[in-house]
Symmetry: C2
Subunit: 569 residues, 2 copies
């Protein structure tokens, strides 16, 4: 491609965005922003995106059939799965004006994902155990009503998605396929070049499964996820579910007498610690919840932790939790909200204590008395030691991996893929069952598997770019070679540069040829660095028939013969 | 691909749709209907669609740079072009529920076309005359709020579109590019196989241009367009703008005395003709309009014609027309609506007579008197012959091409492409001008060029299918070869069939191998015909190592050697 003929250009002075990938991709002329979270792919960007999608397609073709579902969906299927009114990123379409409304007033869901569509689709075709397992995938544009969209291609309102769905006659068969999908995913990430920076991370299974889901997370400072990594076991958890143990606190002071001190309207453990002149670690956070059956739960963690509701749900084995109402708080604590502790609660309150409460002496706790806090609380004297401490805290930097006791490495990572055992959630919603060998109806197990090609493109920028600009891995670079022509006003040099361009093209090498005449060498080199094509070649008067060759990732260039270009790459 | 491993299957008993392409594509397992005008592409359909898009991409790459714009657009850009409230197929997005609304309540246009987005995009990059001309295109999903969507892939609410936009410093340069685009379009349609059935048709330029736009229309009975074709000049017009001359009517009767006859509440020329016992051709249709400047226009055509407002607008040289209000009708005719004629109208009414009024004697006309019709009206005696008759009628079967006097061939055709000189409409809306050699701002001319890949897929079915099913042209067939394995329970035959499958694959031939064991030969052949792959090969016990070969479009099969397959195709 001749640079002069390609639509769009680099613009070093383009606006700086919060996100590095947006800033660099826009400066280098790969994308343009339409509005927050919505981008146009310019020719260079189209090429990268298309190469990423081709790699994904090649790997998915090995395990599934490609389909292309619609973005518009009837609202009825989303009603059927009870997601129409609960999914917080869901958008729908409606006529844009009165003339449109007069012609067709229907509204449609604009799909952010396709479990709700693929399940009734599969149901139309396959019913017998002989037809299973099967899997379909698609690569298409998805829509999400993101509240904040400031991470460039990492979080968009409109984005590219590969989504795959598998159907099975048993959980065991689902898990067999799940492992094949993992392998396909590793192939994709390795081919794209982020394999070495990527980990499989255990994450919540949502309301689909008691099991974990798995995220593919890539190390990068722009990542929106915090990952807890236990090196000795090579196991990684998303913060939302990371099991954690609080590091022990050494306390050797004398046991002091229990006291109730007034402290009206002091909000937050930091303020409280300051007021009481104690470290935050001596405060206690007690939150009251109600389960779906009405049981009141008092959950307590050390003041410097937050309660992790997902963990608490698992400990309780209940379906849902909500914060206790003011009336309930009043009834069980005899106090207004803000002064709850776990001292002297009624017997019908389930008390769950986090392990972070352990080992402390003379600690603080809400007094269950409006405006009062208990200090110098001590286990055994004031509070019975529970039969068991639990892990109900949100993990934080410094926490230990309970299984080995080692301190977690805490990593910022960006999600590039996600695989999910859906179990029977969607098949049940559509009453989709298969007939077994005896003609008996049986539940169908499903899995769902996503990779966001546009998000991957953003992550590649976050991981590989340097201070000079983009740095593309070979496999997804928009072109393999950036040919810089200098002194092109000189007819001989110009003719030779075009000859080189054509010869490389005939060798099957994809070349972006900077054929601009009135641009300085410095500006051309800066553009080449900004655009980030892996191999740079220079043709100039001084070089005569030789070629200057430099890799984007190296500092030094060398002089080579034209016929060596193909070998050196 | 092994048929048994491919998602979806044929279903001969699937529902019959109004549209042949929907019926056959669904029965053959290429698509599935989600709702009216919204389809899922199944694996076979994905392959055809993707081949069509690849051909289009290859041809467009020769004249433009590929981009990928977003579907979501800010409402502001559609306000800027004054289209937000007037485009009757425009949809927008809105949060689907309260939780979504709480997070982001913005609404976005869901783009049915991209003039409104590409113009400000180009404006960001190019300003100097040196940068022009340039052109960009994209292939993507588009959305239209179609009121009726009963033509299968021919008219969808969600569909695939290739749209290209070009930018020029002069109308002459636009026209030069326009011819290059025409050539690229012919390449596409010829490669896809519909070239011989396709014509360039002149159509309205809309409010963009005084010139015509050009439609690529393909002959097929399901086509929604009526095309008037003048063979001697090889010129075709869309009915909406076809110039036409009414065939002369021979009338030799005696001139009769003018009369006013009562005829209250008789609606429509057919009823009137019956009531008056005259042929419809003797009735006259007079419609009163008002122009944007308030001029009242009386337009008259023979009773068996309709008035074509596009033609009338051109004759009048005005911007817009609306039907005259009841008050205006009353003022100029002294009668209620329904009794207007062109006898004795006030001098300030502009009277436009269609040529179809010519040559008649003793004809009917509204009497400009409530409940009365004039009969036995005659030119010269009752009504002055106008200085000129015009062509303001909607052309119909039997009409003549005015330039040659030949009768038009009237054809049902389906639009497969459309190219449009937008002139300066959109550049003006965004105040996008270029700087000429003297640094002076000048208007930018634009063109827009569309092909609908999914619509083309539907048209291919309408054109090529037969009573047995689909018939795909080689270039876009989902596979080149349909290999039917018979007697596959026999291990030897089965092994040989798989060997053939692999050998053909290694030769680079795309093969769909019907490897099902418990399906009869008859059912397999019927499926092969339904699916419509160009070449069918059979392996069976009886054939031993020979192959039975049949083309989808031929009746007779022949026995060949495996090594001849590649040659024969």
């Amino acid at each position: 491609m001749l640079y002069s003929k390609q639509f769009a250009k680099t613009n070093k002075n383009a606006k700086e965005f919060e996100s590095k990938n947006a800033t660099l991709l826009i400066k280098a002329g790969f994308i343009d922003q339409v509005m927050a979270g919505v981008y146009i792919y310019l020719p260079l960007g189209v090429r990268v995106l298309s190469k990423i999608e081709t790699i994904i397609r090649e790997e998915m073709d090995k395990i599934a059939s490609e389909v292309f579902m619609s973005s518009l969906a009837p609202q009825a299927i989303w009603e059927q799965t009870k997601r129409l009114h609960t999914i917080d990123v869901l958008m729908k379409t409606t006529p844009a004006n009165d003339v449109s409304k007069a012609k067709n007033d229907n509204e449609y869901v604009l799909s952010p994902t396709h479990e709700d569509m693929v399940t009734p689709l599969a149901q139309k075709f396959y019913k017998s155990y002989k037809d299973f397992p099967f899997a379909v995938y698609q690569i298409q544009t998805k829509f999400r009503n993101e509240p904040r969209a400031k991470s460039g291609l990492l979080r968009c309102r409109e984005f590219r998605m590969k989504d795959l769905y598998s159907f099975h006659t048993s959980e065991a068969d689902l898990l067999t396929f799940y492992e094949k999908a993992k392998e396909a995913y590793w192939n994709v990430f390795n081919r794209i070049g982020i394999g070495p920076f990527t980990k499989i991370v255990l994450a919540s299974g949502g309301d689909f499964t008691r099991n974990f889901s798995h995220e593919y997370q890539t190390l990068c400072s722009a990542g929106e996820d915090t990952i807890f990594y236990a090196k000795s076991k090579d196991i990684a958890y998303n913060r939302e579910i990371a099991p954690s143990e609080a590091p022990k606190i050494e306390q050797s002071e004398e046991i002091a007498p229990l006291e109730e001190v007034p402290g009206e309207g002091i909000i937050g453990v930091e303020a409280l610690a300051q007021f009481l002149k104690i470290p935050v670690e001596k405060t206690t956070k007690t939150i009251l919840f109600e389960t779906e059956t009405g049981t009141v739960v008092a959950a307590a963690v050390r003041g410097d932790y937050e309660i992790n509701e997902l963990k608490l749900l698992k400990v309780l084995g209940c379906q849902s939790l909500k914060l206790a109402s003011a009336a309930t708080v009043k009834r069980v604590t005899n106090a207004e909200i803000g002064y709850a502790g776990i001292l002297n609660l009624p017997a019908d309150v389930t008390v769950i204590m986090d392990d972070s409460l352990q080992g402390r002496v003379n600690f603080e706790m809400g007094a269950n008395k409006t405006n009062y806090h208990s200090i110098n609380v001590n286990f055994e004297r004031d509070l019975q030691l529970p039969s068991q401490f639990y892990d109900i805290k949100l993990a934080k930097q410094g926490d230990l991996y309970p299984e080995t006791g080692e301190e977690y490495e805490v990593l910022k990572m960006a999600e590039v893929g996600n695989i999910f055992p859906l179990e029977t959630k969607f098949s049940k919603a559509f009453d989709y069952r298969y007939l077994d060998e005896n003609g008996k109806e049986q539940p169908i197990y499903m899995g769902s598997y996503g990779i966001g090609p546009s998000r991957v493109m953003g992550v590649l920028v976050e991981v590989f770019s340097d201070e000079k600009g983009l740095v593309w891995p070979e496999s997804v670079a928009p072109y393999q070679v950036h040919l810089v022509g200098l002194d092109l006003k000189d007819e001989t040099v110009r003719a030779y540069a075009f000859e080189v361009y054509e010869i490389l093209g005939k060798q099957g090498i994809e070349v972006l040829f900077d054929d601009r005449i009135d641009v300085t060498a410095g500006a051309k080199f800066a553009d080449a660095d900004l655009i980030g094509i892996p191999h740079r070649l220079v043709v100039s008067r001084r070089l005569e028939k030789k070629i200057e060759y430099k890799k984007r990732t190296e500092k030094e260039s060398k002089i080579i013969e034209l016929e060596d270009v193909k070998k050196i790459m």
